[in-house]
């Protein structure tokens, strides 16, 4: 049966200027959240391998909670739930960044843990035997090597988090998907607009992949 549908290039390109306004929000939420998530990941990843159980346990609990619940529920909880506790509304942008930060932070903790644990114990023995303190050994010997191994999984996480921001249209942040929805509400060109939205995500993630590949190659070349 002929649905009579033809792809309307005019509608597709016509939506672009509007959609592009969402990109700064998408990028801000993604990279703002990831930057905080990286700091969280370093702290909690290192705590999760600490010898002290009192430090390890809360870190592990955080990781399990935020990996084990959907990010959509997390952002809804932050945006609609938390205001009851903090006693005032939470800005949608802030909620989005916080959700990415907490969620990616949990995954990045695992990346950090894995990266650090993958370094041969002979490395830290060599550092300690030279008279370096535990901290010096960690930061000048273990961490640089671990970080290099962490680049591919960190890149993965960045791509996942960028895509996750699309869910935040539900709290009304004017990111890519939200811009598309608003546009479609007046033009009824869902197919074309979501097609363009998808293309824009792809442009962002492919650019990131490319950059990561370059960084990775540099890293290997200098090893």
């Amino acid at each position: 049966m002929d649905s009579g549908f033809t792809f309307d290039w005019g509608a597709a390109f016509g939506s672009l200027p509007y959609l592009i306004k969402g990109i700064p929000y998408t990028l801000l939420i993604s990279f703002g959240g990831l930057a905080i998530g990286f700091v969280i990941g370093i702290i909690f990843g290192l705590l999760s391998i600490n010898k002290n159980r009192l430090l390890r346990w809360p870190a592990t609990a955080y990781i399990e909670v935020f990996r084990g619940t959907p990010i959509l529920v997390q952002v809804l909880f932050i945006f609609y739930g938390l205001p009851d506790i903090v006693g005032g509304p939470i800005n949608a942008l802030t909620a989005g960044i916080a959700a990415i930060a907490l969620n990616s932070g949990a995954y990045i903790s695992e990346v950090v843990r894995g990266g650090v644990q993958s370094i041969d114990s002979g490395q830290s023995e060599a550092g300690l035997s030279l008279g370096l303190t535990r901290n010096q050994t960690f930061w000048s010997i273990i961490w640089p090597q671990a970080l290099r191994r962490m680049i591919p999984p960190l890149g993965n996480q960045a791509i996942v988090s960028i895509k996750d921001t699309s869910l935040f249209s539900v709290i009304g942040v004017g990111e890519l998907v939200r811009q598309g929805q608003v546009y479609i509400a007046t033009t009824f060109t869902a197919f074309e607009v979501y097609f363009m939205v998808a293309l824009l995500y792809l442009a962002i993630t492919l650019t990131l992949s490319l950059l990561l590949r370059i960084v990775e190659r540099r890293g290997i070349a200098s090893t």
Binding site: D120, G122, Q123, E125, A126, G127, L128, S129, L130, G131, L132, T133, Q136, S140, I141, P144, Q145, R148, T223
Partner: protein, 248 residues
């Protein structure tokens, strides 16, 4: 003369395994002590106790005048001891993210507070001494095993240690590279470095050691001058160990 290492009634366990049993061992300045014994007898554990890479349960250990307390006690001297004691590992354990030269410069800069140029100068002198000055800017991975182990020796020497520990420094090497590492160690011994060496290179032990210690099951079973231990072993365990390793 004050000993550099003084181990008295030292006991160490790995869980239920009594890996070092009532070890009494002193090392004098300038002395070369070679530790021999079968695999799993506790040789590595013994020398790793000396720089605190392994903790021990009881007994006393004084290294270069610094007392190292048993497990659980305050380990305030650990850093002081490690600054004075160099260690060379079977697997080299060079830092792969640093150049050969930076491997040697790291500890003097971080621990002794040497300036970059001071550290670089002495690193180059040391690399020259072990015959690798022309590879200084390479990554460790680009070097052969023998060269890597010589860098590891230079790295340890950069801290100007009073004592050097060697844990089977040639066991991971291709046979043709063993000689170049032993040559460097022989030089060091000649220059008066105090050394504790775990090795299966009996020729080296016989030639360089002032004293040979045979360990079996975590105990020192026999010790003495190399000629005595190798040619007239008193203990039957030493005899059978030596007849196994010297037979080729």
């Amino acid at each position: 003369m004050q000993h550099i290492v003084d181990m008295t009634n030292l006991d160490k366990y790995f869980g239920d395994l009594h890996v070092l049993q009532d070890i009494n061992l002193s090392v004098s300045p300038g002395e070369v002590v070679v530790v021999i014994g079968a695999s799993g007898s506790g040789k590595s554990t013994l020398i790793r106790c000396v720089n605190g890479l392994e903790e021990f349960e009881s007994g006393s250990l004084v290294v270069d005048g610094h007392e190292l307390a048993p497990k659980g006690a305050n380990q305030q001297n650990l850093q002081n001891i490690r600054k004075e004691v160099g260690m060379v590992f079977q697997q080299f354990n060079l830092f792969p993210h640093l150049s050969v030269k930076d491997n040697v410069m790291l500890a003097p800069m971080k621990v002794r507070g040497a300036s970059r140029s001071e550290a670089a100068d002495s690193a180059m002198k040391l690399l020259d001494r072990v015959g690798i000055a022309n590879q200084a800017d390479k990554s460790p991975k680009q070097l052969s095993g023998g060269q890597q182990q010589r860098v590891a020796i230079a790295r340890a020497l950069a801290m100007e240690p009073r004592l050097m520990l060697f844990d089977e420094p040639t066991s991971a090497l291709d046979p043709e590279m063993i000689g170049e590492v032993l040559d460097v160690m022989r030089e060091l011994a000649k220059e008066g470095m105090t050394m504790m060496v775990v090795t299966h290179e009996m020729g080296f032990a016989r030639e360089v050691a002032d004293r040979v210690i045979y360990i079996h099951g975590g105990r020192i079973v026999e010790e003495g001058k190399p000629a005595d231990v190798f040619d007239h072993p008193q203990n039957e365990r030493t005899q059978s160990f030596l007849s196994r390793v010297l037979k080729h």
